[in-house]
Amino acid sequence: MKVINISIKAVMLATLIIFFGSCSLDRFPETEFSDQDFWNTENDLKFAANRLYQQLDGVQLDSRADDNVNQTVNLTSNGARSIPSTSGEWSGPYDMIFTANNILEKSERASVTDEVRNGYLAEARFFRAYAYFQLVQRYGDVPLVTKTLDFDSEELQMPRTSKSEIAAQIYEDLDFAKDWLPAFGALPTVDYGRVTKSSAQALKARVGLFLGTFGKYHGESGYEEHLQQAIEAASFVMNQGHELFADYGKLFVNEGDGPANKENIFVKIYGESASNLILGHNYSRDLENGRVAVTRNLIRQYLYEDGLPAYSERNELKANRSSFYIQEGDEERYNSIFDHRDPRLSYTLFRAGEQAYKGPWVPTTTLGSRTGYATKKGFSAVDWQINSAGTTDKILIRYGEVLVIYAEAKYELDGAISDSDLDLTINALRRRVGMNVGLTNAFVANHQLDMLEEIRRERTVELALEGLRYTDIIRWKLAETLLTQHILGAKYNETDWEGADVSNLNLNADGVLVVEAASTRRFDVTKDYLYPVPLNEISLSGGNVVQNPNWK
């Protein structure tokens, strides 16, 4: 018994010792790294900056304008949208801005040379500008946040900052980026996809053109300054050694990927392949399923091979038009629209009978495309094989756009453009696709064309379905004209529309498919030129953030 007693006492003692000896309450994360131990080396800065590229949106379907439709109506396009409680279109850019501001603040801690540090600061500032530009395009004025905020920061209650102040910040960021980013020719191949001096200035040109023309057509003062910025930035890029990719059709599929393509200025990288899928998109399947169906409204903008148009930028049939134009009621076959047309039309949509998604294209609306047209631009048979396994990179800015920005900004600022500038820009794009009639001042005069309209047309055609159309018609103040018209599709004929049930098609007097009737579409000039601010952002700011005009 005594032995037991002793051993029990020993156990008790041991227990108590363990008790008070080991009762530490410190527990630290073992599978997550602390921010306090980070931001020391160049690699740290690179890993932090990589988050910006990951947050970057790549492939996105955009049927807000009149150029393409998705399977269902787009509520921005038809004027039926309402004020959301929350929206990723507001919050998404601020997530990226946080990442950028965080890098700008914490990079100071790294022991690297200023040159290295500035390179990453430049990336952060590029993306901050990119995010603010998204916000400005949608909402106009937005709160300008240039540092990271904590949960109790007073700035969380800040009102919206004026668009001009944000513009100044964007330009400053992009000029800093230009100074410290590598030139595109100096970017190592392994870093392909990272931003360069060209990316910064091409973005700046895009910003300048947007703010300049929006200001001009919506009656804001000081727009000339923005157009000047656009011209200077575009000129800078035009001296960086970029070249148009030789094949317009292949530019938008796998063949256009990679640093050998000197047209690409800013891309979102997808990869590597379907069998080693790291990051994929579904764009080719989206095309098959009619999520980016070209409309007749877009097709009407394409020139004929004589360099003459049929429709104005307001989607009205012109009095003096190309002799190749066929009245829509007289189009005999589905493919008649391709006859004597700007070659880019054949790169943009499939002909009837052409090898398309799964076989020869037979016009139909039953598989998704509400217009009866099958979009080809960006379709890759390789990407299409497996759902969501598309790996063609998404072009966000390319040299072709910089050229048309230059032409448009120049004309908008000076009211004129020289033949040599036209040759450098518009005609370079036409030559690439074998469209041999150039745009010159004499050609415009001889055929009673409108130079501005033709420059805009070139932009519309060259950059079709690249996600720029909605902002274009907003800044041109054409949205109220273009978005309230019929959205039209292909013309029905029995021969080409094999197996289609005509009684299911809503056709107009010409036999053309009415995809969305004008009576179902509206655009309120007093409010729809800006997005509605999400309700929560207003109430959470204590009412300091105010709603855009006439949204309620």
Binding site: C23, M96, T520, N536
Partner: protein
């Protein structure tokens, strides 16, 4: 799907021992088949409990137990909820089998959609195993000094979890195998998770009982406890096995292999003391204090003191009430106390942590590629919150216990008020902050309620019976919330000045019966969420604030636009009725349960007949608006828009119900042999009947926002046998 599925349950227990030592061993097995007719869908549970208590000598006793619980779940790799959803909602034009002309050689059709039957049979298996061992030892030393007891205990729970999910590729073809129409799990893959966790608990308590004079009885208690937890987890996956029928990480494509680890730890320590005072069993007082510390908090907020007090008065012990002939017992109770709640804290909330871009497991959008390689990126997902501290829950309570009529009638009643003074809640901040916001101590939740329990039991000759009734109510109000107040259509969790989980919706006035009626309405009111071709057969929403537009207004309770608060998804007035009878060998019990007040919403996508183009309406949607059926339950059929199903009085569910929760009949066979001491046969039924106004395809006990992925409700019936040897 199965209309019926099987379930069985077996238990065996053995106990014995002598005066100083007793032991108890019990074991059980439970198995249940799921709702899916084909493929894996079942679960099983195994239990073993052992206990040994012994008195070593007159001072020392020892109690040791060891328990095991094992459970196994077999599920379809595609996920049962998704299969259920597709079984309910796949279009009937989607035939299950392919026509004879088909030359693809596969029996199932998946044209443009998945084939839910093929998936049940062939989409692969997801097996989950969970095993838990608990060992516990308790050493009690008493009366080494008179009145002093030392209690030392230690326990360890160790568990193991394994999940293996093997996804087989299924492909559905068009007219030939050259045309893939749809596929899932392409490429095939295996995904494994294993973890091992432990929870140690050590506790030492000293209790000292002493009397001062004769009638003043004191108990003094002091103690300390320490608990620590750690879980180590490894996950690994691989794709593209060499065949669709053999899954192992060893055979996957090396480029697709993934792995990751996760370690979670926490520790809590406490010191506590208590003093009880008892005067002649008449007046009872208790005061106690705890000092708790948690590893989940930053150093400066780690420790906190929580006091509490209680008192009771046994009136029946008083001379003036003794032998009164009415009360057998009459006791008044009251208490006040504070406790800390740290379980809702994250593990390392106070440290800013970086997420690795290489470890983001499934979502592809969260990956980055440069130079054809998956590339690292690091970012802080959420703000750190070093200011965070314990939730302090303060509770006051008064109660009354009474028994009458020779203990045949008993009554217990309580009223309480509880305040969570530092409630952790998601802070609602403007999106310009640009990062996820953690939960902070920003709220104060007051909840209060009462409950009573009334029971009558009696015996008349061989017939003994009891009737019990209980009723309780609980309400709450978020009295303070620094996260500011936002309302929206539907469910709102946190709102200052309101109960938790309120439901906000529009008010409606039937349907537009004609296009003219709608056109007229449209002159006065715009409905931003209506499609442009709205008209007859659509729901008429009322413009309550008369601003000419149907909206949530300012999004605040002060400016709710046209929204009305329809109540909360938390139930009120819970009641139960319990009846028990015994007569000779027969026994029966009946238990009814109900809730008198509750509202909830059904998911819009489920309520709408065809919100997704691939959805098939349900038979309930047959009762839909047409000019000939103007008072239908559902509005006109409309594809791809849920505008008629916005939260409104029309579709907010009245979740009140009364349910026959359990019914049991048993008969003990009057048989007494040497080997069998007792033999009882019984029938038992669960959830056999209910009364409710909830839309009939759903069970009234479902959570808010219930949808078509919900596991179907089952009534269960069992027959059983208890044998004691």
């Amino acid at each position: 799907m199965n209309k019926y599925s099987g379930m069985h349950n077996h238990n065996v227990s053995v106990s014995g021992g002598g005066e100083k030592t007793v032991y108890n061993i019990s074991t059980g097995y439970y198995h249940r088949d799921g709702v899916l007719r084909y493929g894996p869908d079942d679960n099983a549970r195994y239990t073993l409990r052992t206990n040994l208590s012994t008195e070593v000598n007159k001072y020392i006793s020892l109690d040791v137990s060891a328990n095991y619980v094992g459970s196994e779940v077999n599920e379809n790799a595609y996920g049962t909820d998704q299969i259920i959803n597709r079984l309910y909602r796949s279009r009937t034009r989607q035939s299950l089998y392919v026509p004879a002309e088909d030359i693809t050689g596969q029996p199932y059709n998946g044209d443009l959609q998945i084939n839910a039957v093929d998936i049940q049979k062939n989409a692969g298996e997801w097996r989950r195993l969970y095993e838990s061992f608990t060992g516990r030892a308790n050493l009690k030393i008493k009366d080494l000094v008179k009145g002093l007891t030392l209690d030392l205990s230690g326990s360890r729970n160790q568990d193991y979890f394994s999940s293996v999910r093997n996804r087989r590729t299924l492909t559905w073809y068009g007219r030939s195998t050259n045309t893939t129409r749809f596929s899932i799990h392409n490429p095939n893959s295996t995904e494994n998770t294993k973890n091992r966790g432990y929870l140690n608990n050590l506790q030492a308590v000293a209790t000292y009982n002493f009397d001062v004079l004769d009638h003043h009885h004191f108990t003094l208690l002091g103690g300390t406890s320490y608990e620590e937890y750690r879980k180590d987890e490894l996950t690994a996956g691989a794709q593209s096995m060499i065949t669709n029928d053999f899954f192992s990480l060893n055979y996957g494509d090396p480029l697709t292999k993934t792995n990751g680890d996760l370690i979670e730890t926490w520790a809590i320590a406490s010191y506590f003391g208590r003093l009880n005072y008892n005067f002649q069993e008449k007046y009872l007082f208790e005061a106690s204090v705890r000092y708790d510390g948690s590893s989940r908090l930053a150093h400066e907020n780690r420790w906190k003191l929580f006091p509490s007090f209680s008192a009771a008065w046994r009136l029946d012990q008083e001379d003036f009430l003794r032998d009164n002939g009415i009360f057998d017992q009459l006791k008044l109770r009251g208490s006040w106390g504070q406790l800390g709640n740290g379980s809702s804290l994250g593990f390392y909330d106070y440290i800013p942590l970086l997420t690795s871009g290489l470890n983001v497991p499934t979502s592809q959008e969260d990956r980055l590629v440069f130079n054809n390689l998956r590339t690292q990126f690091l970012y802080q997902r959420e703000l750190a919150s070093a200011q965070k501290t314990w939730e302090v829950v303060e509770q006051s309570n008064i109660g009354l216990d009474m028994t009458f009529l020779e203990n045949r009638l008993s009554f217990t009643g309580d009223y309480y008020v509880k305040r969570n003074k530092n409630m952790l809640a998601a802070l609602n901040l403007p999106s310009i902050i640009g990062i996820n916001v953690p939960r902070f101590n920003v709220g104060e939740l007051k909840s209060w309620g009462w409950e009573f329990d009334l029971k009558w039991r009696d015996k008349v000759n061989d017939f003994s019976y009891s009737i019990g009734f209980n009723l309780s109510d609980n309400q709450n109000e978020l009295v303070r919330f620094d996260g500011r107040n936002i309302i929206n259509e539907g469910h709102v969790e946190l709102l200052e000045g309101y109960p938790m989980n309120t439901v906000w919706g529009y008010k409606t006035d039937g349907y537009f019966q004609t296009q003219e009626e709608y056109d007229q309405y449209k002159q006065m009111v715009s409905t931003p969420f209506f499609p442009n071709n709205a008209g007859a057969g659509d729901v008429k929403y009322l413009d309550l604030n008369g601003d000419g537009v149907i909206t949530a207004g300012g999004g605040t309770p002060e400016e709710p636009g046209d929204l009305i608060n329809y109540g909360t998804t938390n139930g009120r007035y819970f009641y139960g009725l319990n009846l028990d009878f015994q007569w000779k060998g027969f026994d029966a019990s009946i238990f009814f349960q109900g809730v008198a007040k509750r509202v909830f919403l059904i998911n819009e996508g489920t309520l709408s007949p065809m919100l997704g183009t691939a959805d098939l309406p349900w038979t309930i949607h047959m009762d839909r608006w047409t000019p000939d059926n103007p008072d239908a339950f559902f509005p006109r059929m409309y594809q791809t828009s849920a505008h008629n199903y916005r939260p409104s009085d029309r579709y907010i569910q009245n979740g009140a119900y009364l349910r026959l929760k359990n019914l049991q009949f048993g008969y003990t066979v009057p048989l007494r042999t040497a080997s069998i001491q007792k033999l009882r046969v019984f029938f038992s039924g669960q959830d056999l009947w209910e009364h409710t106004d909830v839309l009939r395809v759903f069970d009234p006990e479902v959570p808010n926002n219930v949808s078509a992925t919900t596991y179907p409700f089952f009534r269960s019936i069992s027959f059983g046998l208890n044998v004691t040897f």
